[in-house]
Symmetry: C2
Subunit: 132 residues, 2 copies
């Protein structure tokens, strides 16, 4: 199962430190895609706006890598749409939406990430307790 | 000021995502060194033990890099000690302790890290709220 492999890789690399940015973004993108089928740039704008009070600005490259991983894992699929007048000035946009089996896989990923988020919050709260 | 540079580097690299492992370890090492002058391996054991419930196992290499940075920043200094019988079987151990001006610098670092920890806890709690 790809998602389990993913979390193994994560642990090997960080030795169990805080969850990686890629996982954090994948979790958010699943929620955003479920709400509305959109293109990458739109999600980036939405995320930067949501995290303004925290000063976190995910790059477009990180968003695309996360969407790509979710597609490779069979959770999301891409669809193309033309914006503007196809005869004169147009732009091809790539939208993301859930695959048929994507919802079930996403449910499992969400479940794993909830455990992971709780673990990380606990670790940081412990750091405040231990050092202040 | 090196510590400010450090936090700038941090922001550039992670684009304001969660605090890096190096900073997390430096904060803990300042607290541990203040409690007891010890050698690197000892701190690693102590940290692995403290974080057992969270599955986080910092590597010795990461601990040494963090101690090295704190030394370069003039907060800690190294001192050597011989363990065992110098005539037959002995081991040279490197201990860490605060420099004279280290306490003041550490105080500033701690202050910055408190803001950073609170920011990260807030970001993760928001992720729980937004996705569950």
């Amino acid at each position: 199962m790809i998602l389990v492999e993913d979390s193994k890789k994560e642990n090997l690399k960080g030795r169990g430190y805080l969850l990686r940015q890629r996982s954090f973004l994948k979790l958010y993108l699943l929620t955003l895609v479920e709400k509305k089928k959109e293109y990458g740039l739109h999600y980036q704008k939405e995320l930067i706006d949501m995290f303004k009070p925290y000063g976190y600005k995910p790059t477009l490259s990180e968003i695309y890598k996360s969407l790509h991983e979710l597609s490779q894992e069979g959770i999301l699929k891409r669809s193309k749409k033309i914006k503007g007048d196809p005869k004169t000035d147009f732009q091809e946009l790539v939208y993301y939406q859930f695959t048929e089996s994507g919802y079930e896989k996403a449910k499992l990923y969400r479940k794993q990430m909830k455990v992971e988020l709780d673990r990380c919050i606990g670790m940081l709260q412990k750091a405040v307790q231990d050092n202040y």
